[in-house]
Subunit: 386 residues, 2 copies
């Protein structure tokens, strides 16, 4: 299989965007990525989207997006794995270029979440869990992650201060990101005193509901070297994808996200890297506890040490292992289908040296971890600057 | 890229199945395919499903299906392209095996459509069209295909007798298929006098709403030759995928399904075949007019000759170009996400010589054409017996 490079990135601004439809957001992000790359055509495209049907009464996004981008009749494929839809789209695009089937592939993610009520959005999101055995019993995602947080606290002594510091750090990073939905800093006290949602989780431990889109352009490294030289070369070194039980209650242990652990192992193996080779990571902090568990599952910290590491500042911009330099889902926003693609965009910006006020000092290797549901699926990509 | 063989096929019976949930149907079809193939593991899986969200309040099918099959933690990906979801799943599975990333891949399609009301199902299906510019104006799929039928009649003189004969032929074939939802013959008179739905289309020109699932197992030909020898070898020789405008009104011409034409050309080119090399085809007869247009788009008949050919009996089991030997979507049923996979199963059964009472005489090459919406996407696969 061929090595694959990321030669263009593009975003539509994220937020509660009542003037922008799903198709508008997709087209802006895709056009920005195309312009950033300098390609004059695309061969194929992927769209990650969790629920066009429930959020926007629109399925068949492959046709809609190819149509409104003016890209018909190229093949277009929409993929879904709940909040990991963008990560799965990345993997499919990587596979198509790596296989030799296509040279220039657009990978995008989009979600239009705010055209329905909050209750309806909560219901739509709940379909990422086991509807029959979880949703119909009344549990929604804050409840599921609250149970994971309680289990983690009981087993490892993880504290609410530690979880709160994750939100403080992500908002501090997001305040430096012009694309963030909530680009402002918050204090530990504000987080810890915010409205309770599902004990022990409070409002500022939870990622928001967001409209947004993200897109990247992929090409084989050999072609990128000779033809698409707008930017420093960023290569996808590893891709890992794994599943776990959809229902939380079917798992042996609530304190580890096995799908993230296994997807990470596969990505490390393909990339020939170890956790200590990673300079930065974007992980799926749909809730603060998820970031803690992801940093443990990916081997950055020992089990139970993710919380203390966050409180010590190890995961801050100037820490030993910067996590979610973009602001993460918490501050940057979480348009579910777009998130996995935007994670890769943040790593690419950092590796190119384009990350502005939140730029790390010369990072070489980054990791993106995207997750569906309460960890029923996870996708990990490892990127390297060449 | 490697050549890919179909080494196992499996179905869950189709119909209005109030006792079988989405996960049950998937597991039956997948287990049947696994047993048919003789594999002792799978490396990865794809699930084609149009709208788990709107039909069954269940997204994240990748995790659900991997979980209930007992297949976690393997990578699983759900793909969607409206009624072409199954065809896209086939293409993704083919690509994964062809690329060398995986050896044994399960490709499935599933749709649970009858747990909601008919009105709700009509709405869910309408999201395969352009919701903002078609759905919100009140048009649904019978209306869109009625307009295509009218245009075809006006341009080519296609008659209602010709369209009705398509339904008569498909029901005659379906009567020989133990897996069909409506396994009985109908007369031309019955079809022509059935309840009007959207003029000129009547009830028996329309495919039904169906619960069902289908699955196949793919492997590289080299591995199939040495290890999985349960059945005569069936090889995927060509794969084509194309998009068109999602809205019917955006097209220059309502009488041709361009996405099917282009997907067909790509599949023919990859396979090194021409329309005259094809011994049989399963095409997407969501409405009778769609079968006529598909047989023209794929080059089996000249434009405008699809209707007369059907009326002459050219597309019957004993005709020169048998179309929809399975009974097609009309008689076999149309669980939208499963249809594209089931088309490939019918071709495989025919190529193996396993098609029972509807078996053709020693077919060598078959073509499957699956379609999303009013032709906004289409996928074509060409299979050959080796």
């Amino acid at each position: 299989m061929r090595e694959v490079a990321i030669i263009g990135v593009g975003l539509h601004n994220w937020g509660e965007l009542w003037d922008d439809s799903l198709r508008d957001m997709f087209v802006t992000a895709a056009t920005n990525a195309i312009n950033d790359s300098g390609v004059d055509h695309i061969d194929s495209m992927y769209i990650g989207c969790m629920s066009g049907g429930l959020f926007a009464a629109q399925e068949h996004l492959a046709s809609l997006c190819a149509d409104y981008l003016g890209a018909t009749p190229i093949p277009a494929t929409r993929v879904e794995s709940a909040c990991a839809s963008g990560g799965v789209a990345m993997r499919m695009g990587w596979m198509e270029v790596a296989s030799g089937l296509s040279d220039i592939v657009l990978v995008s993610g989009v979600e239009k979440m705010t055209d329905i009520t909050g209750d309806e959005a909560t219901f739509a999101l709940s379909t990422a869990a086991d509807t029959e055995y979880e949703g119909y019993q009344g549990v929604t995602f804050p409840g599921l992650y609250a149970m994971m947080a309680r289990a983690h606290m009981a087993k490892y002594g993880t504290t609410i201060e530690q979880l709160s510091q994750v939100s403080v750090k992500n908002h501090a990073n997001g305040a430096l990101n012009p694309h963030a939905q909530y680009p402002f800093a918050v204090t530990l006290e504000t987080v810890m005193n915010s409205t309770p949602v599902a004990d022990p989780l409070r409002l500022l431990h939870c990622s928001p509901i967001t409209d947004g889109a993200a897109a990247v352009i992929l090409a084989p490294v050999e072609l990128a070297k000779t033809k698409y030289k707008n930017h420093p070369m960023v290569v996808i070194k590893g891709s890992g994808h794994a599943t776990d039980t959809i229902a939380l209650h079917s798992r042996d242990d609530f304190t580890v996200i096995k799908a993230a652990e296994i997807a990470g192992k596969k990505a490390y193996e393909m990339a020939g890297k170890k956790p200590e080779d990673i300079d930065m990571a974007e992980v799926h902090d749909c809730f603060s506890i998820a970031e803690v568990m992801a940093t443990e599952a990916l081997g950055f910290f020992e089990p139970g040490q993710g919380g203390p590491a966050a409180l010590r500042g190890d995961t801050a911009l100037d820490g030993s292992m910067p996590i979610n330099t973009s602001g993460g889902l918490k501050s940057k926003g979480h348009p579910v289908g777009a998130t996995g693609v935007a994670q890769v965009i943040e790593l690419t910006s950092q590796l190119r040296g384009d990350a502005g006020k939140r730029q790390l000092k010369d990072p070489k290797v980054g990791l993106a971890q995207n997750m569906g549901g309460s960890g029923g699926s996870s996708v990990v990509h490892i990127l390297e600057k060449r």
